[in-house]
Symmetry: C2
Subunit: 299 residues, 2 copies
């Protein structure tokens, strides 16, 4: 079944200890869809400027993305510039140019409104909510967020959380949202806010899935070298949602498998810059690495 | 089969955000043996002063430890005082009184010399080596260490590593020993130093087992409250070695199970101060928690 993703399409300038890329393809909707489309059709809602390189459009088209919701607006594309040092956990943002993304308030195309899997990537929770209101009756809604919205749009975020089933965030965001340093306690408090499932991403330390009945914990796939972690979280979300949308049922078993897929696919993203690796892998590469992950974790 | 542990028996004064204990039972040999004895007989080699409380001797005796190698010497018992804040990862040491432990140079009792599983807890690598020289032909030798020895007795440590099969250390120690921040690369460099297996303990993020053929990674059991992490590493080692000593073969399958046991038993240690919880659990408690761990990690 199809997935709708609403997020950013961006030009990223990224520097890591291993090199630099200038205005490379990036953005949450791009990483998400390139990952999700291995399992399910994906429709994108995002905005780009007139300067957006044709080769990137071609890339998305070749991947088979439905781009009818990709609006081209007068002006420049959203740009982000960041730098990572050896501790890859947090990039230093050097500049953010919102450009056409600054008044992104998407009108969901009529032909998208009955898509039944929705992923609201990390954007203003008011916009995430406005998107949801335009959708008919999705079977599954997942959303991401970030510390900025927790700090500046808490009320809107809490309203949104009443309407989503799967909420993804990272460790420090979970702590910030709840004021609780212990993740088990933090999860309990977040599940009371609305979502029936909470996914806490811990980067190189793996990830956690919480419901009111159970907890699932996996370590990360061990990487010998990380080139650029940009987009890993959205790649994870894409693999997870893509796999789920391909399942007949959204139950604990499938959710756990979905999380393994998401976390394995994210390892391809970090192996090179931008979409240089993720954009070139095959479904076989994923299957092979999932098997390696199984070997890493079986006892 | 039996295990010999050589390490400390101490009186610990520990403060955490949840309370304080003064001169409570502690020390690597105590945590190790209390954990290992669930699976295999344990003989202790350590030294205490004349002031060592009889109730603690009684505790160890009731647990069934072989204390013929526990030397009582004139003077005071080794004391450590430390404090943890909300981030439980590293205690602040307030004082260390070595006392009788300062010239600990154990003469292994003749009746211990053919024990075939040896655990050398974190002490001076020269002493660890001196212990090994007194042993006949152990089937399995494991050792722990700490940053102090990496910094101050590197040569002795490297010599020791040529003679052990399993080496345990934590993340930052692995990085310090090798000058390599990536753990896969660090593990490769450590395995070249001698041990056939390397266990890297990551605390709340689980643990890793490396050999030249494979990697095993498990997350930590999720704890809602941690009272006092003192002794968790030695409890882990005890469960791991205890389980292995009870197996007919030391192979990858049994090692992985041993690591699950070790990591599950360590969760009891941190639930209360000192041996207050670990000292009171039953084998059933362990089996039950291993099942819970399985539920947490299965996919």
């Amino acid at each position: 079944m199809s997935i709708l993703v609403v997020g950013s399409v961006a030009l990223d300038t990224v520097k890591t200890p291993f090199g630099k890329r200038k205005e490379a393809l990036g953005g949450s909707a791009v990483y998400f869809s390139t990952s999700a489309i291995f399992f399910s059709p994906v429709s994108i809602v995002a905005v780009i400027g007139e300067d957006f390189p044709k080769k990137y459009i071609d890339f998305l088209q070749k991947k088979g993305m439905d781009l009818r919701g990709l609006e081209v607006r007068k002006g420049k594309t959203f740009r982000w510039e960041g730098e990572y040092d050896w501790d890859f956990s947090n990039p230093r943002t050097l500049s953010t140019e919102l450009n056409v993304f600054s008044d992104f308030n998407p009108d969901i195309p009529a032909e998208y409104r009955d898509i039944n899997h929705v992923f609201l990537a990390n954007i203003d929770p008011e916009i995430q909510m406005a998107v949801l209101k335009q959708m008919k009756k999705p079977r599954l809604i997942a959303c991401d967020t970030m510390n900025y919205w927790i700090e500046n749009k808490r009320k809107a975020l809490l309203k949104l959380l009443k309407n989503v089933q799967i909420f993804l965030l990272n460790e420090s965001e979970a702590r910030e949202l709840t004021g609780e340093s212990n993740l088990v306690k933090a999860s309990r408090s977040i599940l009371k806010m609305g979502p029936s499932r909470l996914i806490i991403k811990k980067g190189e330390h793996g990830c956690l899935l919480f419901s009111d009945k159970s907890i699932f914990s996996i370590p990360a796939f061990l990487m010998e070298s990380i080139y650029d972690p940009t987009g890993a979280g959205d790649t994870f979300a894409g693999g997870m949602m893509g796999y789920l949308a391909s399942c007949r049922k959204v139950n604990e078993t499938n959710l756990r498998k979905a999380i393994v897929y998401g976390s394995v696919i994210a390892t391809f993203t970090v192996e090179k810059f931008s979409l240089e690796r993720l954009g070139r892998i095959s479904r076989d590469d994923i299957t092979k690495r999932v098997k390696e992950f199984k070997k890493l974790t079986v006892y």
